[in-house]
């Protein structure tokens, strides 16, 4: 038996902390009454803060492995984890009032959220295919439960079922791909895999066969076309706080899944997966953007918009260069920051008996609240990739990455499809600014939600005007 220190276990301090904390919260929550449920909420936020402290405290400057290579800590992982804590914390902050109003303010939401976060963390730090799979399942299973979390809602149950069945199939596909790769190369460890693939030869048919399954699994977790079917239904059917959750940290996980498996483990096969990802990316951008136009529900619209953004994230990855991964990482972070705000806006406008998830619910928002209309406008223009907001720099980065590897046509396709996308984001701005309000209720949301959402909106602008803050961060961790 090797000791904790020999296994270099301290680099996993944050994971251990989150796991312990969540067990403690689970136990405490059992004994809480409805009135003291806030304690769970506070403890969950404290856990996130503690995890952030642990991650910073045990932050690494270079790649460090632990547990015989099963676990990897690197600067990219640290940054992604910190971002995940942040988005999960913001998600909790945004969700509290909505959950309280709906009688959903239960410990399960926060506990499942923390388990999902743990899954994200495990994926971020995965050093072997097994760890990857462990993280994927930890995340997915919590998400399935979260979607079904409002048991009164038939539509939520339906989408949870759909999510679960399709998700299970995709996990199986991913595992099947892993097993083939393991069979051919004889290793699960990602760094050894990279070496062994070169020995076997990247053109090995069995490897490519396995790779195809892995890509299908990754595409499903991302929600890339043609494996996107679950996205609109789940986004639409799940309670808005859960949609918000699914739209944020899990996207970071999907990104890191692709990076760890494709860019680190199977980097020698870049020629093979590049072609597959090109197809996925183009289809996602095309279908996501075109179908989003037809939506009347903003959650569904944002679901299709997510699909198209996944296409853009894939653009960076498929470049197969460090610049591309960096661009992709930047895009993912920018996307998460913006999306969290957009869903937060739906939560802001919702009130008892009113979901505010139809597009028309945004009508005349400028009359009701010029400040939040301006924030939503910034979020929408940012998602559309219009400067000076953060979304523009994300788009710039991935297009630059694609151009750099000589795929000029792909860059042109991407920017032209982003014009299609502009239309439905503009429509939201149109509803808020050019139409008269149909809803005269004052916005009920409390101070926390308002403050965090305002900060979120301002961040979208500030990181757009001073983009080098986040660009340099990505550059530092992915040199």
């Amino acid at each position: 038996m090797s000791s904790w220190a020999e296994m270099n276990g301290q680099v996993a301090a944050a994971e251990v902390f989150v796991l312990c904390a969540l067990c403690v919260i689970l136990v405490i929550d059992v004994f809480l009454t409805e009135r003291s449920r806030w304690l769970t909420y506070v403890l969950s936020l404290a856990t996130l803060a503690g995890a952030a402290y642990m991650t910073v405290r045990h932050g690494v400057q270079t790649r460090v492995t632990a547990f015989d290579g099963m676990y990897v800590a690197d600067p990219m992982g640290d940054v992604l984890k910190l971002f995940s804590y942040g988005t999960v914390a913001v998600t909790f902050l945004y969700s509290r009032e909505y959950l309280q109003r709906r009688g959903l303010f239960k410990g399960e939401y926060f506990i499942l959220g923390l388990v999902a976060l743990l899954g994200v963390m495990v994926m971020v730090s995965a050093g072997s295919l097994l760890t990857v799979y462990l993280g994927v399942e930890l995340l997915s299973l919590s998400l399935y439960a979260m979607v079904a979390f409002d048991r009164e809602s038939g539509i939520a149950a339906e989408s949870a079922m759909k999510y679960f069945v399709l998700g299970a199939i995709s996990s199986g596909t991913l595992l099947y791909g892993f097993s083939i790769v393991y069979g051919v190369t004889g290793t699960l460890q990602l760094d050894e895999l990279a070496v062994n693939v070169r020995e076997v030869g990247a053109a090995n048919l069995a490897l490519i066969f396995g790779l195809a399954f892995i890509i299908v699994g990754i595409a499903f977790k991302f929600g890339a076309v043609p494996f996107h079917m679950w996205v609109p239904d789940v986004y639409h059917g799940a309670p808005t706080p859960v949609t918000l959750f699914i739209g944020s940290a899990p996207k970071i996980a999907s990104f890191v899944l692709a990076i760890r498996v494709l860019a680190e483990g199977l980097d020698a096969m870049v020629a093979s997966w590049q072609e597959m990802l090109i197809a996925l990316a183009v289809l996602s951008m095309l279908l996501g953007n075109v179908v989003a136009i037809a939506q009347t529900n903003i959650k569904r619209m944002l679901a299709y918009s997510t699909i198209s953004h996944v296409g853009f994230i894939l653009l960076g990855i498929l470049a197969g260069t460090n610049e591309g991964y960096r661009a992709s990482m930047y895009y993912t972070l920018a996307y998460v920051i913006t999306t969290v705000g957009s869903f937060g806006m739906i939560l802001l406008l919702s009130r008892a008996g009113f979901e505010a998830d139809r597009l028309e619910d945004f009508k005349g928002l400028n009359r009701r609240s010029p400040w939040f209309a301006a924030i939503m406008m910034m979020l929408m223009f940012s998602t559309a990739g219009v400067p000076p907001f953060i979304g523009f720099w994300a788009k710039l980065a991935v297009i630059g990455a694609v151009l750099d590897v000589g795929l000029a046509w792909l860059a042109a396709v991407a920017v032209l499809l982003s014009v299609v996308a502009a239309f439905y984001y503009l429509r939201v701005v149109k509803l808020m600014y050019f139409d008269e309000p149909t809803d005269s209720h004052a916005i009920e949301a409390g101070g926390t939600l308002r403050a965090v959402l305002s900060a979120n909106g301002v961040a979208v602008l500030a990181l757009g005007v001073f983009p080098s803050v986040l660009i340099d961060l990505c550059a530092r961790v992915l040199p």
Partner: protein
């Protein structure tokens, strides 16, 4: 020379003013108006220092500022002006306060947001003309669409939503391909060893002809939409008709000029060989704009639409003048002719900015009183509004290129230059003197002259002091530029000569 960042002040002062107005909200509209006026007036005052301290004996960038902005992309916050951008900045700062004055009492819905949008827009537009870094240019170029989108959409006419979305998508579609080109050029500078987004560094990037043609077409898409050139002009009549008066004025007077500016700053110097190869395309499109759109303008029933089409026709001279260079230089090395074409284009831009702005103000004056833009709704306005009629006739004559007005100078220079290139160019371009006069004066005849058409016209009141100031200032500018264009030409002369030199040096 200045030891303080005059260009940054010009960009950020109005934006800051706009943010203050937004923060102030609709609580104190009267104060808001004065803030807006003060901000734009001070901005204009500061911008005159540009003119006063401008050194017209050099083609170098002046009033330069450079700060690191995005080091990892080698993109800098780099500003500067030369003889091409300085007059355009002045035009911007000159027109915007007039817009503020003209909409003093007219805007009832959310006036604070209205002024804020114009102030922010002004800052962004100045930034577009002053940016020396391509990425900074692009950011401002696109960001500018947002306030304009809002202006047309909130304060526009009945079909404003259609018009403003069309406006946004058209221009956005045009510019995204330019973005791809800019990134490509940036990567070429990296391949050459020194990554840079500076526009001036793009001039030195060696590019083979096929690549140049692709980049040229991408630039053409961006700038042709903005100018706008036939056949991508269709957003303009819609946007103009639906926009509030101030929006139309800014659109016609300044935003269209960015297309012309883009040709001079990007297309010609970065892809000179492609521009030389494809100059026939641009020249044909320009001549179609001048002649065909002239005929289209003739049949318009809506005054704003007529002026919008007239803008397209006049902007045809800008693109024509800019692209005559190659033919002039290749035929007989006519540097003077080439410079004349580009200077004509520049004068035409400034002059059209003043005249079309003034004409939109005139329509606005009528519209505020009668709430109709239909030519048929009017007739005999001179009887009730003699002072207004005098201004309207002056601007109409300027629009048709009457000597002693600024409209004459630009068109004349371009026609002379095109004469040196090819008789038929000059012939077709010269048709504008007939067409322009026909559509403008015919409108004036129907609206202004004749007997009082109906009771509404009979009840019109003449210009108030505010409107008089706006139109009077513009009239002075139009006449001054028409009678004595020398200072303007002198300012740009060195820059234009240098530009001709750059674009006729093959890159291949």
């Amino acid at each position: 020379m200045q030891d303080w960042p005059i260009l940054s002040v010009l960009i950020w002062l109005p934006i800051f003013g706009g943010v203050v107005m937004l923060a102030l909200g609709e609580r104190n509209v009267a104060l808001g108006r004065w803030i807006a006026l003060l901000t734009t007036a001070v901005t204009f005052g500061v911008s005159t220092l540009l003119w006063a301290n401008f050194d017209s004996s050099t083609a170098l960038m002046q009033f330069g500022e450079e700060h690191s902005w995005i080091p990892s992309l080698s993109s800098a916050y780099a500003l500067g002006v030369d003889g091409i951008s300085m007059p355009l900045i002045l035009l911007t700062t000159f027109i915007t306060p007039l817009v503020v004055i003209a909409s003093w009492t007219v805007i009832e819905k959310k006036p604070a947001q209205y002024y804020a949008a114009f102030l922010i827009l002004e800052g962004l537009m100045i930034g577009v003309f002053a940016a020396l870094d391509a990425l900074l240019f692009y950011v401002l170029w696109e960001a500018m669409l947002i306030p304009m989108f809002i202006i047309i959409g909130i304060w526009g006419g009945p079909r404003r939503v259609y018009a403003t979305i069309k406006f946004f998508l058209y221009t956005f579609l045009g510019s995204v391909l330019m973005l791809v080109s800019l990134i490509y050029l940036y990567q070429q500078t990296c391949n050459a060893g020194q990554c840079s987004y500076l526009i001036a560094d793009f001039y030195d990037v060696p590019l083979d002809l096929n690549v140049q043609i692709m980049i040229f077409i991408a630039f053409l898409a961006a700038f042709a939409v903005k100018v706008p050139m036939w056949p991508v002009h269709t957003w303009l009549p819609d946007a103009h008709v639906e926009a509030p008066t101030g929006g139309s004025v800014i659109l016609a007077a300044i935003m269209l000029k960015m297309g012309g500016y883009g040709f001079l700053r990007f297309s010609l110097p970065i892809t000179p060989d492609a521009a030389g190869t494809l100059d026939w395309l641009v020249i044909s499109l320009s001549l179609i704009a001048v002649v065909y759109i002239g005929f289209v303008a003739l049949v318009q029933q809506d005054m704003k639409k007529l002026i919008a089409y007239s803008s397209i026709a006049h902007m045809g001279f800008v693109t024509l003048g800019s692209f005559l260079t190659f033919e002039l230089m290749s035929v007989n090395g006519d540097v003077r002719g080439a410079a004349m074409g580009i200077e004509g284009a520049m004068v035409q831009m400034i002059s059209h900015g003043l005249i079309s702005g003034a004409l939109f103000f005139c329509v606005g004056v009528l519209y505020d009183r009668m709430h109709s833009r239909e030519i048929n709704a009017y007739g005999g306005v001179v009887n009730t509004m003699p002072i207004f009629a005098a201004f309207a006739v002056l601007f109409a004559l300027a629009n048709s290129g009457l000597p002693a007005t600024s409209g004459f100078v630009g068109e004349f220079l371009v026609i002379i230059a095109s004469f040196r290139a090819d008789f038929w160019y000059a012939f077709l371009a010269g048709l504008t003197l007939i067409l322009g006069a026909a559509y403008t004066l015919w409108m004036v005849k129907r609206v202004i002259f004749g007997a009082v058409a109906n009771d509404n016209v009979a009840a019109l009141t003449d210009l108030n002091a505010r409107e008089f100031v706006v139109l009077g200032v513009l009239a002075l500018a139009v006449l001054a530029l028409g009678l004595w264009p020398a200072p303007l030409l002198e300012v740009m002369h060195k820059t234009v000569e240098n530009l001709v030199q750059t674009i006729t040096t093959p890159k291949l």
